[in-house]
Symmetry: C2
Subunit: 177 residues, 2 copies
């Protein structure tokens, strides 16, 4: 395995849910790098139905945190990205809507890019929780055609959060169950 | 941005859907590295409900390809990984099942690890298509408590498949819609 391969696999292994932030801001340049990573995720039938809201303003981060019981880390986050599905980007006729699978892949890409950039980040689910979706929809002024999937608070990590080793050999089945 | 960061972001950007394989086998060591990457993905409430079937046997790869109209690349793939949700790994009482979000994140991690290892791979959806799920369930002898989510054919790329630039600035909304 060469050096580049090891660096990338190590980043995947080191990604962690970071819930403790120093409170320092996250630059727009950093957010743009995260968003580029999100858009590079695969999309079923290459539909690319996602849209992203990036938030850095303290009052908006705090307002979102007020109504999201599991996302209180927004109060100390430097920024947040809300990954959304845009239903105005049409499906092929007869196709089943896989927007949430695309949104999950984009969310994971953003988390991995944050780890690479020495930022902390955490995936907090909005879909399929109508109360959470509505709270964020209202604050961010999302059109009714746009559905929030996840909110990713991000910031500079305090160092308290560490990766877990989740490998379990018994979860692997060779050639069949 | 330092070298390591660039290498990781470049890998995210270079990941592509590889549908053309040379036919060479993929070693179990490589598959294990892919599976480790899959298990490192985040899991809602840390439930870790996933299980993985890794297939290298030609007859099984071909049999799966026969019944999957969009996954004919299995005929030339060196191996495949089926990402599954194991419903015997219990939910917290009252919690909504987010197994498919976990499975999507694990699928994306596997694709990124394949890119890092100079393997090709492609995400082919099984869930929520009952005919595809049943076909794979039968061949792999999946228990009724285990639900297939995606199948990832992998192999050595011919080089025909190239990454797409999917970045669109208009998909980003700053501070609100």
């Amino acid at each position: 395995m060469n050096d580049k391969t090891s660096i990338i696999l190590e980043n995947i292994r080191n990604r962690k849910s970071v819930r403790n932030f120093t409170g320092e801001p996250v630059t727009k340049a950093c957010l743009l790098a995260l968003l580029k990573a999100g858009m590079a995720a695969p999309s079923a039938r290459n539909r690319q139905p996602l849209a992203f809201v990036a938030v850095t303003e303290r009052t908006i981060l705090d307002a979102m945190g007020e109504g999201l019981p599991h996302t209180k880390m927004l109060f100390k986050a430097g920024a947040a990205i809300v990954v959304c599905g845009d239903t105005t980007i049409g499906l092929q006729e007869g196709a089943i809507d896989l927007w949430y699978q695309d949104a999950a892949a984009a969310t994971e890409n953003i988390l991995l890019a944050a780890e690479a950039m020495r930022l902390g980040a955490v995936w907090s689910a909005l879909y399929p929780y109508p109360d959470r979706e509505n709270h964020v929809r209202k604050i961010l002024n999302l059109p009714s055609t746009v559905n929030p999937f996840s909110i990713i608070p991000t910031g500079h990590p305090t160092g308290q959060d560490q990766p877990r080793d989740k490998f379990k050999a018994e979860k692997i089945h060779w050639e069949g169950w």
